[in-house]
Symmetry: C2
Subunit: 203 residues, 2 copies
Amino acid sequence: MKKAFVRRPSAEPASPAERIVTTATRLFESQGYAATGINQIIAESKTAKASFYDHYPSKELLGKEYLARYGANHLALIRTLMDRSGSPAEFIHSWVRILKRQLKLRKFYGCPMSNLRAQTADSSPLLKAAVKDLADSTIELIASYIRTANPGGLFAAQKTATLAARRIFSAYEGAIHIWQLTGDEAALDDIGFMAEQVLKSRD
Amino acid sequence: MKKAFVRRPSAEPASPAERIVTTATRLFESQGYAATGINQIIAESKTAKASFYDHYPSKELLGKEYLARYGANHLALIRTLMDRSGSPAEFIHSWVRILKRQLKLRKFYGCPMSNLRAQTADSSPLLKAAVKDLADSTIELIASYIRTANPGGLFAAQKTATLAARRIFSAYEGAIHIWQLTGDEAALDDIGFMAEQVLKSRD
């Protein structure tokens, strides 16, 4: 299960900075950002305290790096799925399939943007802004895709495409939270249903 | 802004247990459950430490009480709105109006079920189960309403009504999270749109 370690050739040991981020990611995901203290990250990443603070002067900056890495993967995944899909409906279908696979492999802890936002409340303007940037980028990416996937169609106007993209992202967040609240995996299927309604609407 | 104190007649001072819950609620909402320590609750509720532990032997039990009180209000509000509404669409409309009013009054911190779930990750089976109970009750309440609001109609079957209710609750959770992530209040309007699609669907 320790994929990050398996992947790395043993001849090239992880740098302290890498070990810190890998450990922090595992702990932020499994026990939450708020519940994870710097001392635990230092201990479990086997880093010297001074070295830790050299790389990350605060937990907040480590949280920002964690979110940035997640965000890069998240947007890259969405772009790859879009490139491979023939239509927005097909893209949504693939996206849901990936979520379900992560769930099955127990590698899914919900939406990191949303978890981080809930765990920092209004106490971190830095993380709040980073979360907003990533959420806005997600909506823009989906909007630009559904606008170009159907030129001259229902979503030709920027405003209409952005509204539809927000609703699709909302269906994604909603379904993930219903799954987190109830434990009902079938909730993820609602993403496909909801997105289909959004994509055929003239509203 | 300290409404709980304003409301209470000065002749009848709050009991320690009440002061603890009121203070905990304010802190859990404004700074988050995970970020709130017992010592802060003790200090700000002006309770003796021994008295605090008499009432709440652990933060988890206080979290459970906080969720139970929120849950009772949440379900009562939904029931009241249903009683006053002529149709499921009207009920959703009133529900969204209440959310927007709370937002305007800066008394809205998102969904307490979902915030608590994100902030305890898998570390508290007690709170996880309490959150699941409340989420399931919310879905059941909505399902029973849309089934009886339209007897013999699209949602006459228990299974269909429960599916529609889950999707409506998903639209509610999704919209609240999009608002939390992006700061865009218009996201709350998506609840009405999504619920409308769900309520007219034959899926």
